[in-house]
Amino acid sequence: MSFRIDRRRFLMGSSAVLAAGAAGFRPAFADDTNLRQIFWGSKARADRTFQANDLYTKANPATKISGEFYAWNDYWPKLATMTGGGNAPDIIQMDYRYIVEYANRQAIAPLDSFVGKELDLHDFDQDQIEGGKVGGKLFGISLGANSVASIVNTKAFEEAGFPVPDNNSTYDDLMAAGEAFKKANIRGGMKAFQDGSGVEPLLENWLRQRGKALYTADGKLAFDGDDMVAWFKLWKGLRDAGAVVGPDDQALDTGPLESTMVALGKAAVTFANSNQLIAFQAIVKDPVTIASFPRIAKGSKGGHYRKPSMFWSIAGASKLQSDSAKYLSFFVNDKTAAPVIGIERGIPCSASVRDLIAPGLSPQDQISLHFVSNLGDLIGPIPPSPPANAGEVDTQLITASQEVAFGQKSPEDAGPEFVKTASDILSRKG
């Protein structure tokens, strides 16, 4: 059998393909104002956002919004490429970790000139406004307040016969819980807590309770080698006692939610953020709830702070900054959009919006809302925005914690080494 393509069929076939493909070859033309928007998230978030966009267009018929969204890992290279290529969308979702980088390089625009005019923030939480400032200027509008939180598998604690952790639990309670889980030996050896030695927000929380912090206002480390030795020793003790998961299991957690210890069923508590409760519940069969990060002793305070979960920013090179600002204002204030947006991105920062949607929230959403609003003495002042290269320090912490956990380094060595490496990272130019 020989394979022959009938010439006519080939031509017809390929012209059909080309014609169909031509649809993808014509760039879009804008008639009225066309705002471009980019954000990270999954379909759940996209649905809500596009619905809100539709509401905006209904209220402002001359404005169209074309939104694109990507997974977290894809979002940053895409955004950086578009920005580097001079093609960034007008409305950009920003993260606490990157906002400093983008602001300092004028990739996003200062918003101060719009406040009070296009941008209505009159009943916005003050600390959330502060959270969006870099170098004193406002660069991002907080889309929701969240706080660090422990995600707790309540059913597992029931089975182990130990009280569920709450906002008063301490590190000693952590050890006690560990013992209880060891004795109970449920679910194939489930441990009480994950190994938190590589979790930067947990370290920050712990430092703040000791009166220190991660970074100073002028971008240097605000802790020293002794702190780090104590930190690594603390977690080594917990590991050796079997209260927290061992290194092999903890290293399975590479960042995404589905690789965390609670999702994998290896521990009953994972350290995360308050607005992730719903996401966790979706992949864990048992009921989960949230509690604070552990206190270092009874009554110790000031570890937590309410931070913006994410921001809307406006591209520095955008030609439609005023229109974008109007959209931003709509997103965080509008009463019809608020129920659609919900608390998926975080607890709304406008008091009136909060009051509006609170009654309509599901029980689990209510738990999140209640948690963030009632941290009480756990809350301390919001820290200064992190310096450039802070993300790299975070990465280094994970490596250092793994080195200690796998026994490659002792806490006494790892502590000062980490401080030195971190300082080098911070002082590296370019």
Binding site: A20, A28, S42, K43, W72, E344
Partner: protein
């Protein structure tokens, strides 16, 4: 030795050979089946996961789901937005087919030049051609993006397809060169004596004799293009232009809510076109050339 004993001896030998053949066949099949299970297990897991409720996916240990539910497929297909996966499949198909055409045409021309024609600087250009394979794309990404942006091609299929028509895939050039060099030169010379032009040699001798490698290149181009997510990620903005692989990535958000069932369901569906494409065209690999054109 009488003819009878000779006949029996031969019959015995033939019987022995048959038994050996059978044993070999059975052993081979056992080995292949075992290997197939290894190859397939992860896919079977994915198939099973696509039928499970979301909170069961990560903690269950068995392959069989507790209940079979096609909700993930329905949900995934609708993709929750105004655009269904039908659009994404169409886009992927268009881009992949065009890439196949472009690659086969441009790469075979280029490979013919490198393999068969003598010209000044051939070694130099060949080295450069291979060199383009060695530079990681992460660093040429931004300059290339700027280039395409200046051409106004961003948010269209052009950056994905045009390079194929310009033989940008050195992989296939190199592949075809190796195959062309395996075809005896006597055929070319015979044709030239008969008054065949250079293009004629390419068109009437080289290409027909290279059906295995052309089919292979076609299959690979289709699959590589279908599976590529990075170029579509960078160059496509409007969701209605997305390819399947790009759309699949939007199911999962590592920091928040994900639709794992939907992801697995659509991944399985996405495998079907490329699998079918492969099955259909691999027949050509079989038919291939058991005898070469020497007899022809």
């Amino acid at each position: 030795m009488t003819s009878e004993t000779a006949g029996t001896i031969r019959a015995n030998e033939r019987a022995k050979k048959l038994v050996r053949r059978r044993i070999f066949s059975v052993v081979a099949h056992i080995v292949l089946i075992a290997a197939s299970i290894c190859m397939l297990y992860p896919l079977l897991w994915m198939l099973s996961a696509s039928f499970r409720p979301q909170d069961e996916i990560f903690n269950s240990n068995s392959l069989i789901p507790s209940s079979v539910n096609i909700a993930a497929y329905v949900r995934g297909w609708a993709s929750g937005l105004q655009i269904t996966f039908a659009t994404f499949f169409a886009n992927s198909f268009i881009i992949s087919i065009l890439s196949v055409i472009g690659n086969l045409a441009a790469c075979s021309l280029t490979a013919f030049a490198f393999a068969r024609l003598k010209f000044w600087g051939r070694g130099f250009w060949f080295a450069l051609m291979l060199g383009t394979l060695m530079l990681p794309y992460q660093v040429t990404l931004i300059p290339q993006y700027v280039l395409f942006r200046n051409l106004g091609w961003v948010n269209t299929f052009l950056p994905l397809v045009v390079p194929k028509f310009l033989a940008a895939d050195s992989f296939f050039i190199f592949l075809m060169v190796q195959f062309f060099r395996g075809i005896p030169r006597e055929l070319d010379e015979a044709a030239m004596i008969d008054g065949c032009s250079t293009f004629g040699i390419y068109w009437r001798i080289m290409l027909p004799l290279s059906l295995p490698v052309l089919v292979t290149a076609g299959i690979f181009t289709f699959i590589f293009t279908w599976d590529d997510f990075f170029a579509p990620l960078i160059y496509l903005n409007d969701m209605k232009n997305y390819t399947v692989t790009l759309a699949l990535r939007s199911f999962v958000d590592s920091s928040g809510e994900s639709d794992w069932g939907g992801l697995f369901a659509m991944s399985i569906l996405s495998l079907i076109p490329i699998f079918l494409f492969f099955l259909f065209f691999q027949r050509l690999l079989i038919e291939g050339i058991a005898t070469t054109g020497i007899k022809r």
